[in-house]
């Protein structure tokens, strides 16, 4: 996201929080978040795709609301304003194609109005049919869950994404030979998909609160967390949304602090570090181990300051709008072991995976008729969780290896901790402090070595870089 877009977001959130306050807060938020889905979407080379993908986000959120809301709560009388806002904004944005100038709300010129009308008619018809003829039953919710995962896989597997891009280019009579996986860069989809999956799973387990269409869509596309999270939980988010907005000086101070801190981390520290941080180009140019470590450490800190800077900005913006978004980072590089690192790095993502993968799988393996031995269960669940977290970033060999690296690290730390915990507990405070410092250094370097697979595009460059790091090249 550009600095200009962030500054406009700050201006909008400040106006909403300080001037508009509670007058028409929810419809206004819905309108602004809907506009943001289009405004934040980067330009794509496939014709009109940068209009259709944000429209797809709105369609997915609307249909997911229909599917996860009890039949008696889908009242048209309550929810028609939200439907009108959503359809109205899509139509108005579509009509801007007839203006002779750009309004900066869509990445490029919107497609033909007739196409937009047809797409809106199809989505409205599906929503109508689902409303009239379905209850949020187990089978249909599982179907929706699987469909979102499939969509996720198509977008994250480079070969599949390239094939889809070729198909779309053919439809648009564009050169198929130029198709790339990056052609399908769907802004915020990774986060949006996980919010949708969370609500679908919670509807299945009966934990999902009943929310209106406006509340649901604002939760899914809340503009401060659209591009880089955090992944909030709907019951917490809607609780904040329903509370009257009363901004205190504390809120303003905290918001201002997080915004300034976030902008500084992202646009000063991270951007300066990016000049020497490890990337696919400089990885091939470095031949000395010392410089290789400098590049790698610069990457480790650039990634942290960039991502945690975005989170600070999201939290600061949310605070102005009365939403206390969850924290995503808590000094992860200062943790004494890998388990603690993962409790404090991208926390909302790891909490999501714990809630919907690690915990249910561990519970099933531990409470069956013949429970598996503890080390086997830990091996399966830690490796499974971390490989999935790796693949969430992209279905490539490197992300798989990165997940494996951390999964194995967590497994070995767990076994080591089981063995040594009673012994270490009896050590003097001075020894415990020394162990703590040693743990921080080992953990940081373990994580940094893992970033080699994360930062570089393929296995051969990564292995070669590891050789340089350890003086074996």
């Amino acid at each position: 996201m550009t600095l200009a877009l962030i500054l406009v977001s700050i201006l909008v959130a400040t106006t909403l929080g300080l001037v508009v306050r509670n007058r028409g807060r929810l419809p206004l938020l819905l309108g602004i978040c809907t506009l943001a889905v289009y405004a934040f979407q980067p330009v794509l080379p496939v014709r009109s795709l940068d209009f259709w993908l944000p429209t797809g986000t709105l369609a997915l959120a609307t249909l997911a609301w229909v599917l996860t809301t009890p039949q008696e709560q889908r009242s048209w009388r309550v929810n028609w304003p939200a439907a009108v806002i959503l359809i109205g904004i899509v139509l108005v944005l579509g009509l801007t194609r007839f203006l002779g100038f750009s309004v900066y709300l869509t990445a490029s010129r919107p497609p033909q109005t007739l196409q937009i009308l047809a797409a809106l008619a199809v989505v409205t018809l599906i929503a109508f049919l689902l409303t009239r003829f379905t209850k949020p039953g187990r089978a249909i919710l599982t179907g929706a869950f699987v469909l979102i995962i499939l969509l996720f896989i198509i977008l994250k597997v480079p070969t599949l994404a390239t094939l889809v891009s070729m198909g779309l280019r053919r439809l648009n009579q564009q050169a198929t030979s130029l198709a790339l996986a990056q052609d399908l860069r769907w802004l915020g989809f990774s986060y949006i998909a996980f919010r949708l999956l969370h609500t679908i799973r919670d509807r299945q387990s009966g934990r999902l609160p009943v929310v209106s269409l406006s509340e649901y869509v604002v939760y899914v596309i809340f503009f401060p967390g659209l591009t880089a999270g955090p992944i909030d939980r709907i019951e917490r988010f809607v609780g904040d949304l329903r509370r009257p907005l009363t901004l205190t000086t504390d809120d303003l101070g905290e918001s201002g602090k997080r915004l300034v801190l976030g902008l500084f981390k992202k646009f000063v520290i991270a951007d300066v570090l990016s000049m020497i941080a490890l990337n696919a180009t400089n990885a091939l140019q470095v031949h000395l181990a010392g410089w290789a470590w400098v590049l790698l450490y610069a990457y480790a800190f650039q990634l942290y300051f960039d991502f945690s800077g975005y989170t600070d900005i999201a939290i600061g913006l949310g605070r102005l709008l009365g939403i206390k978004l969850p924290e995503n980072f808590n000094a992860p590089y200062l943790k004494p072991n890998l388990t603690q690192f993962w409790n404090n790095w991208h926390m909302t993502l790891t909490q999501w995976f714990r809630a919907y993968f690690f915990n249910p799988v561990t519970r099933a393996l531990r409470s069956g008729k013949k429970p598996l031995p503890i080390p086997v269960v830990i091996f399966i669940t830690q490796l499974g969780t971390m490989v999935l977290i790796g693949l969430w970033h992209g279905v490539t060999v490197n992300f798989f290896v990165w997940g494996l690296w951390h999964g194995l690290g967590l497994f070995f730390h767990n076994r080591w901790s089981e063995l040594t915990r009673p012994r270490f507990a009896t050590l003097s405070p001075r020894w415990q402090k020394a162990l703590n410092v040693g743990g921080i250094l080992v953990t940081f370097n373990f994580v940094a070595i893992g970033w080699v697979f994360f930062a570089l595009p393929n296995l051969s460059i990564s292995v070669n870089y590891l050789r340089v790091l350890f003086g074996l090249a």
Binding site: T339, R354, Y356, N359, T362, R366, N414, P422
Partner: protein, 81 residues
């Protein structure tokens, strides 16, 4: 009753997870955020709570924002009983 829940939980955690049966856990001592109880133990703890106190803790609730110390966990169980 509260004391019994507290005692049972404390004994279970110190014996099974920490392997220090003599250790005294304070009611407000952080368990999850401090790393004393890891994510694997947390699932075992929820199974222990379910079989001993008849209270089911949902998978999505197994985190430090639901409870982070023995006091909070005891209250969590009592509220659901």
């Amino acid at each position: 009753m509260t004391d019994t829940i507290f005692e049972k939980l404390a004994t279970y955690i110190t014996t099974e997870f920490l392997k220090q049966p003599g250790r005294i856990l304070k009611p407000d001592e952080p368990l999850l955020s401090s790393g004393l109880v890891d994510s694997f133990h947390l699932v075992d703890l929820s199974l222990f709570v379910e079989s001993n106190f008849g209270v089911r803790i949902d998978d999505a609730e197994l985190n430090a924002s639901s409870f982070d110390n023995l006091d909070q966990l005891t209250k969590f169980i009592k509220d659901r009983q």
